[in-house]
Symmetry: C2
Subunit: 121 residues, 2 copies
Amino acid sequence: MSKLLKIEDVTARECCAPLNGPVLGEEEAAELAQVFKALADPVRLRLLNLIAASEGGEACVCDLTGLFELSAPTISHHLKVLRQAGLITGDRRGTWVYYRVVPPALTRLSGLFALPASIAG
Amino acid sequence: MSKLLKIEDVTARECCAPLNGPVLGEEEAAELAQVFKALADPVRLRLLNLIAASEGGEACVCDLTGLFELSAPTISHHLKVLRQAGLITGDRRGTWVYYRVVPPALTRLSGLFALPASIAG
DNA sequence: CCCTTGTTTCGAAGTTTGTCTAAGTAACTC
DNA sequence: GAGTTACTTAGACAAACTTCGAAACAAGGG
């Protein structure tokens, strides 16, 4: 068991309840807030975007680091935040670590903001 | 293009570019991060949920305040943050202030997290 | 083994955020 | 006008977050 890449899965419960649906409980709201806190940073948004848009659906940290004027530890920290929010996963293959998005986590968020066509129009 | 759309094609417009689409610029990422910062709080998530799920699509502040063990100024502060993020709007009608969600803002977020079926499956 | 690349942890600035109390504005009623 | 209710703004403060540098840790190649 590698302590390196463990994540805390916060997306396991109700996958797609919309925002205009049932009332959020306190603990559910706190859990969701943690996910948005992970997204509430320009660097992390760009990291997630770069990973999601990567060829083959995965990106090596070695490629990501050079795109920011931040130290390697800082990039690593941001990736860890995204990982703990359940938005991405990483696995080490040889010297490098590759990250990819967790589709159910993103789909859950997409469903959260979905509105009925009668309102969205 | 000019066809009747019951469901909005959220991937077509620039406002709703998906996360796995074009690379986010720094400004765009910063602006999006501001929206997520507004969502990154349990109280604000519950407020947004309550407003979105309200009968008639709007909720009076007087009804919201009683649902939290927080002072009125604190609730007002959170509503202001949501308002400044463009997620809700409020208007005063007589003594009371009513808030409702801004559908395009939510639809944009829904589209942001939308994934192609090939990945999302 | 040592060396290189890449990641994580730790501790210390500086900044931001959530909450409060107190004071201010807006509208209704007498 | 004065008083009451509803909501917002202003100022202050503790808690949390961001970022960095230095150092430790992991994996592979010579």
